[in-house]
Symmetry: C2
Subunit: 300 residues, 2 copies
């Protein structure tokens, strides 16, 4: 039912055609907001309507770097937030540049990193060196509250943003985006949030509301879905996007409405040893919903 | 970032809860239109809004039966159209019943079979025995035009429907659904169509139009997406649903509008040796689009 050799020929042609938009990757590295993912087939405009949608590499944390890269390619994504599972925090500058090159060779642009714990100044300095070496404008972080002043000092010195990740009801310091906001609102404006939409819902806040309310400091998003347990309680059991309870359409609309320019990273945690089918379903579902949303201009 | 043991516990509970709706599988076997897929998590209503969406097992034609079953389970589908790659046409009744049982044990209901070539009466008789043994109400077929009268005789005798599959411009007899319609319209009303939406578009007919125009004889659908080649010509190169040119939303709306009760089977052909990620993305995309469509009553 297929014409394999013809298909391979066409596939090669499509790949060559798709290379064009990524030629600007060096420029995008300086100003990542300039990079737009290429259309998958030449047949359609950007399915993400300008949002920088990619993958949080934590999704592949049980698998080696190459499997992570192959998986991100498979789902036609072109951004990644690098977790230390694929590039250790204590890596050398050369090691960091080599990993970045592997991603770029696969037409995937590192756009943030994390989640990075920050318990002392050494860890903070290391994280900022790491972010500098991999060329990302944002570090997704889970700092100790006592270290926030030090983190802010590095933000001012290095010009790299911090997106503090909320981790749900089990977290001591940052359960919901409101906790992060309270901690950063009086600090440098480059101290902001990574809204994890699943943990946000579990902490009792609607992700759509959080995206809109905290838009001025929103620098990264972890995209996922969660299910309820049989008693009706929201749980930390992740699921394929679309099978759970989150308002996917509302979140996408909100991100478009606020003109979000940061990374929207899929983080699929249900099947660490074989995350690809679930990630693919999640990406497909989100793209399907996205296809029905009109891009809107900044409303506020 | 996850609580594995808790998750497993909840997953088991969810599986037990989900078993309920499938208890009626014996009844559904008699009247398949009664079967509704269970909600994936208990959190949502049927994401397919009453359509019987499943997988054409041709998707897994390069892989063994167990991989096919595991793949269909992975994407949370509960219907299958069985291709001879997973159950040979010359299998015995016992072999057929064993394979059906394997599907049912995985909560997957065989709902049609094919595509089956029908070049002589022996092949026709074999196909109708096969369909009887696996308990499906529809055979998706590619009969020689000269054999149509014989096929019709078996349809009348056995009470099993025939859905003739259109195969695009390369096909001699049935390029588009219009060709199938012309061949069957004067025959028994149980002689009808399987619209392959990709081949339909390539044959110059809009799948949405075909679904509506031929609704009275539409008994099966092959769901997919296709891309254009660099010169702008539609090709037989399949792609993940949503990455191509077909009007996915329009097709779903049309199927809901006509109150379609047959099988809508995903047929993903791009990566025969590893079809699961692409199938999962296709299922996700379609479900995402579906989430934005209101079910409608028969309009005509």
């Amino acid at each position: 039912m297929s014409f394999q050799s013809r298909r391979d020929l066409l596939k090669s042609a499509a790949l060559i055609a798709a290379a064009g938009p990524l030629a600007g990757i060096a420029l995008a590295q300086q100003q990542p907001e300039l990079l737009r993912p290429p259309a998958a087939t030449g047949a359609k405009a950007d399915p993400w309507k300008g949002l920088k949608v990619g993958v949080a590499s934590y999704t592949f944390h049980s698998l080696p770097l190459q499997a992570c890269i192959d998986g991100i390619k498979q789902v036609d994504m072109h951004y990644v937030s690098i977790k230390d599972s694929h590039l250790k925090m204590d890596s050398t500058t050369d090691e960091r540049k080599a990993v970045v090159q592997q991603f770029k060779d696969a037409k995937i642009l590192p756009i943030s990193c994390g989640v990075v714990a920050m318990k002392n100044e050494a860890a903070i300095a290391q994280a900022f060196d790491y972010a500098r070496d991999i060329g990302v404008p944002v570090i997704v972080a889970d700092p100790s509250p006592a270290m926030l002043a030090t983190v802010e000092k590095y933000v001012k010195e290095r010009g790299i943003k911090i997106a503090i990740h909320n981790h749900g009801p089990e977290s001591k310091d940052f359960k919901s985006p409101a906790d992060v906001w309270a901690a950063v609102e009086k600090l440098d404006p480059r101290m902001g949030l990574c809204i994890d939409v699943g943990h946000t819902k579990r902490a009792g806040m609607e992700p759509v509301d959080a995206i809109i309310k905290f838009k001025d400091r929103l620098y990264d998003v972890h995209m996922k879905d969660i299910i309820v347990d049989p008693s009706g309680r929201n749980t930390n059991v992740g699921t394929e996007v679309g099978r759970g309870i989150l308002d996917i359409r509302g979140m996408l609309q909100a991100l478009l409405d606020i003109g979000f320019t940061g990374h929207v990273g899929f983080e699929f945690e249900k099947a660490a040893k074989n995350p690809l089918p679930g990630l693919a379903e999640s990406v497909g579902y989100t793209k399907g919903v996205m296809s029905t949303i009109r891009p809107s201009h900044l409303k506020t």
